[in-house]
């Protein structure tokens, strides 16, 4: 039997406003429990919400970035349920009239194929607090610092067909929100959270299978693992003649499995109705246009420009624009050294490996774009060879001196004095009479060996092109 997987993602993005969605309380992460909750956040009687305009603008920015319809009139609703970390007993969200309507984004797979993924909608809502079940001797603690933090819930169409596509979609969303500067997208801290709706069906079946919803998966890697586990679980059930139960499941990364949380069939009736404490948000074309004009260059546009302007292949361009910081770093390097291809190789190669190895972000890099640009410039102007450049690069991690100072101090400057190179080559010819003879007898392959000997003798500092030229002249 051939199965097709159908995945839709609901992604909650914490908007990086300074204050909460409906109160003036700070949203800063990591404060002492319950120090960032004011009388509205605590749902004291008589308190009322006031919409945070910055959150609205961020939501509209996102909508425009995915070419979505923007809700000219969007309405907040109350979603009713009881839980101790939900102080009002209802969450203010948007049901029928979300701020962002249908839109789409394009994902690129590793093999270079592209796919357009539909976004059904995105709406604003307030976050709940946190319930802490450990450390309270059989009781639960409530931390309301997060209660009321603005979220943008982004709902995809069920257009994703495997875990890799789901991860690519999630990474693309991550990249877009970071470019737009509307969220830090930090999955570990919960500022980007993902629920996956997963079902499988027989290939060609027009009907969707019964889905399960996997909650709160907190890394890209876990998204892939959780979906793969769930697809396997559903296959086994269906192939054994069983039936999928529509339910919410939790991914346990320690055991690498999903398990049932609660059955949707007995789930809450949320009794949505329009929030009477807030008027509908009405925005006009002028407001939308002002935001559209202020949008930064987005990953897709930047990637196209990199390809056109710098002659990069689509894959390199795609890697470089995946993070705004990397793209900006790269552009600065090119500006300094003037060689896009070399810059791309160094940024996506040596530098990215260094950052990944140490878990550093671009702003943490010990090698600034200016220094890396200078290093590449020294390869270009033949001050050092590419190979020596790697040694210099290693030194630059620890040593904050200027690139030229490091090259000077370490005596790594390339030997370009033809007299000096002639001496080296004379020595090589004298020491390798057999190979010299073989070459003269027409064995071209030996030439490389002799160049290598000359380079070795110069401790890699001799200019390889000059070595080539002079050696060939001398062997004539």
């Amino acid at each position: 039997m051939s199965w097709e997987t159908v995945i839709g993602l609901e992604v909650h993005v914490q908007l990086s406003t300074l204050s909460k969605l409906f109160s003036g309380t700070s949203t800063k992460f990591g404060a002492e429990p319950n120090t960032q909750a004011n009388i509205y956040d605590l749902a004291l009687p008589g308190t009322l919400p006031v919409m945070n305009e910055a959150a609205l603008e961020m939501a509209v920015r996102f909508g425009l970035a995915i070419d979505a319809e923007i809700g000219k009139k969007s309405v907040f609703d109350r979603k009713n349920y009881f839980y101790p970390d939900l102080p009002k007993g209802y969450q203010v969200s948007q049901l029928h009239f979300p701020i962002v309507g249908p839109g789409s984004l394009t994902i690129t797979m590793e093999d270079g194929t592209e796919k357009v993924i539909g976004v059904t909608r995105a709406h604003m809502e307030e976050d709940a607090g946190k319930s802490l079940h450990e450390d309270f001797h059989g009781m639960s603690g409530i931390d309301l610092n997060r209660a009321g933090t603005p979220l943008l819930e982004i709902v995809s169409e069920p257009d994703l067909r495997n875990a890799k596509e789901a991860v690519a979609y999630l990474k693309k969303l991550h990249s877009i929100i970071r470019y737009l500067d509307i969220s830090d997208g930090n999955m570990a801290q919960g500022s980007m959270r993902c629920d996956a709706n997963v079902s499988i069906r027989q290939e060609g079946d027009p009907e969707l299978g019964t889905r399960t919803e996997i909650k709160n998966i907190n890394s890209f890697r876990f998204v892939e693992k959780a979906i793969n586990y769930e697809v396997m679980r559903q296959r086994e059930i269906l192939e054994d003649g069983g039936r999928i139960v529509q339910e919410t499941r939790l991914y346990d990364s320690d055991l690498d499995e999903t398990r049932s949380m609660r059955s949707k069939e007995v789930a809450n009736d949320y009794r949505y109705f329009p929030e009477p404490d807030l008027l509908p948000i009405v925005i006009d074309e002028e407001y939308i246009e002002a935001i559209r004009t202020s949008l930064p260059e987005l990953p897709d546009q930047k990637s196209e420009r990199f390809a056109a302007e710098f002659g990069l292949n689509p894959y390199d361009a795609g890697v470089l624009v995946s993070s705004r910081e990397m793209a900006e770093y790269f552009e600065r390097v090119v500006e300094i050294c003037g060689d896009a291809k070399l810059s791309a190789n160094w940024v996506t190669g040596e530098l990215l490996a260094l950052l990944n190895k140490n878990n550093w972000e671009f702003p943490d890099s010990p090698i600034s774009a200016d220094r890396l640009g200078t290093l590449i410039a020294r390869i270009k102007d033949n001050t050092i060879s590419g190979k020596i450049a790697k040694t210099v690069f290693e030194t630059m991690i620890e040593d904050q001196d200027e690139v030229d100072t490091i090259i000077e101090n370490k005596g790594l400057k390339q030997v370009t004095d033809s007299g000096e190179i002639e001496n080296l080559i004379d020595e090589v010819i004298v020491s390798n009479p057999d190979q010299v003879q073989q070459f003269r007898d027409g064995k071209e392959a030996v030439f490389g060996y002799l160049v290598g000997q000359a380079m070795k003798l110069s401790k890699g500092k001799a200019n390889p092109a000059q070595v080539n030229q002079i050696l060939r002249d001398k062997l004539k």
């Binding site: 605590l42 004291l44 009687p45 009322l48 007993g89 209802y90 009794r271 949505y272 404490d277």
Partner: protein, 489 residues
């Protein structure tokens, strides 16, 4: 005993040096001490704070303060949060709740120099029309202590009528200012929705709740409106409209005023003596140059039904926060979370509140939403349209506030009969319009209220019409003797 005086009169007396705010405040505190036990109008009296405020007001008056409410003793309905002083909302649930903030209305009276004597009794969470649902016991009517004061702002109305304060605040979701004002023979004014901030006013039904003045005359209502009205950045539903001086147009003559009499308000169910009193009042308006026009409010009969879907629906969510987790009542020794929720809410809320939470929860449930909530909202638009059509023909609409005078305590045990108490007032809340009840006569010693409605934000016009009536009549000057009649039953 000093004769009951209005804000306007006392503001003059304070400036003429006839009395001081401290003297006035002592006088009212004494009266409360003597009389409140008969009426149960106050839940909390704050003597010390009141005297301190009065002393501060006297300094301001000596400094030439011009705001007429400066130094005037005031009572707040116990639905307005007052920093450091219990705000119970008439409920066991909040009997121990002390807010760390003031309602905007409270802040505004404080800023103007008014003196808060205390917090008045009310139906629990403002749900009731007789003040019998209060956790603190019913308020009694100063005209006959065997009868109800009306509700839900019964404590404020009784306190003003019995001269236990000069002025009081109230809130009106379906008639909760106007009906008790009618029953107690005083003036109660509900402004347009959005005119006064709801910040710090404990929510019953957010799209209907509106604060307003309860006082002795339309002129006093205008003076209080000058303090209370205005945009509040903390209440997104408050309106950004210039606030006029509500006292400026009070003396305007009523020549040419067109008064609409809704046929539906002079129909079956109306006590004939109440009808007669209102019709006598209308004759006064004719003498003042007004003309009377019969009008229709064709969807009026749907207003109570629509209201009892919308208001409980909103209330069911508004009251979810009372869960025993963060403040207010919590049951003893809960076994687990569910037990805490169940017992806290079962023990903390009274029957009427529970009834409305159940009705509202049901109306919003999946499968019933369209039939109830959505339908009720559609009816609400029809009702508003009825008024808009009527105001094409007339300037104000006048009728009775209530079908009868105040009834005896315990007389209405059927909830639906109680809901029908607000049959003339409820549509005004659904439409968001301003309405006022003023005294228009007596039947067997019990006051009759006349109800007047104007178009959106035409508060000044309404106060002008009411004031002109009060210049021509003296019903509003009558004072109760706090007598107790034998029960008729």
């Amino acid at each position: 005993m000093m004769a009951a005086k209005t804000i306007a009169e006392l503001a003059r007396a304070l400036r003429d040096g006839e009395t001081s705010s401290v003297e006035l405040t002592r006088h009212y505190l004494d009266r409360i001490n003597q009389v409140n036990s008969k009426l149960n109008a106050y839940i909390t009296v704050c003597e010390e704070q009141a005297l301190a405020q009065a002393a501060a007001a006297d300094l301001r008056l000596a400094d030439g303060e011009t705001n007429p409410v400066c130094g005037i003793p005031l009572a707040h309905k116990d639905i307005f949060c007052t920093q450091g002083i219990t705000t119970s909302c008439g409920s066991r649930m909040l009997a121990n709740f002390v807010a760390p903030y003031n309602a905007t209305v409270v802040d505004k009276f404080n800023a103007a120099g008014a003196v808060m004597l205390g917090k008045t009794n009310m139906d629990e969470f403002a749900m009731g029309s007789s003040n019998e649902t209060s956790y603190f016991g019913p308020v009694r009517n100063p005209w006959d202590t065997n009868r109800v004061a009306g509700g839900s702002s019964g404590g404020s109305a009784a306190a003003v009528a019995a001269d236990l304060c000069v002025m009081a605040t109230g809130t009106d979701t379906g008639g909760s200012i106007r009906q008790p004002a009618a029953f107690c023979g005083i003036t109660g004014f509900k402004p347009s929705y959005g005119r006064i901030s709801r910040w710090g006013m404990i929510a019953f039904a957010s799209s209907l709740d509106q604060a307003g003045p309860i006082c002795k005359s339309a002129e006093d209502a205008a003076i209080m409106m000058n303090v209370m009205a205005g945009l509040d950045p903390k209440d997104s539903t408050s309106v950004d409209l210039a606030v006029p001086d509500y006292t400026a147009d009070l003396e305007q003559a009523l020549n040419g005023l067109r008064i609409g009499l809704p046929r539906q308000h002079f129909a079956e169910g109306l006590n004939p003596e109440v009808e007669q009193a209102v019709r006598d009042g209308l004759k006064e308006f004719e003498k003042l140059g007004a003309t009377l026009v019969d009008i229709d409010l064709p969807n009026n009969h749907l207003s109570v039904s629509a209201y009892y879907v919308v208001a409980p629906a909103e209330a069911s969510a508004n009251l979810s926060r009372y869960d025993g987790v963060r403040y207010g009542y919590r049951c003893d020794n809960p076994i687990d979370l569910e037990d805490m929720y169940k017992r806290t809410r079962s023990e903390g809320f009274g029957d009427e509140v529970k009834r409305r939470i159940l009705v509202g929860t049901y109306a919003l449930s999946a499968g019933f939403y369209d039939a109830y909530y959505r339908k009720a909202q559609q009816i609400r638009r029809l009702i508003k349209q009825d008024f808009l059509d009527a105001f094409q023909q007339v300037d104000v609409i006048i009728g009775p506030t209530s079908p009868h005078t105040a009834f005896e305590l315990g007389a209405k045990s059927d909830p639906v009969a109680m809901y029908l108490e607000d049959i003339y007032t409820i549509a005004v809340n659904l439409a968001g319009l301003p309405g006022i009840s003023i005294p228009a006569g007596f039947i067997n010693g019990m006051p009759v209220g006349m109800h007047m409605v104007a178009g959106d934000f035409e508060e000044a016009r309404l106060l002008n019409v009411a004031h002109q009536f009060q210049r021509a009549t003296d019903w509003h000057l009558q004072q109760p003797e706090l007598k107790t009649t034998e029960s008729a039953a």
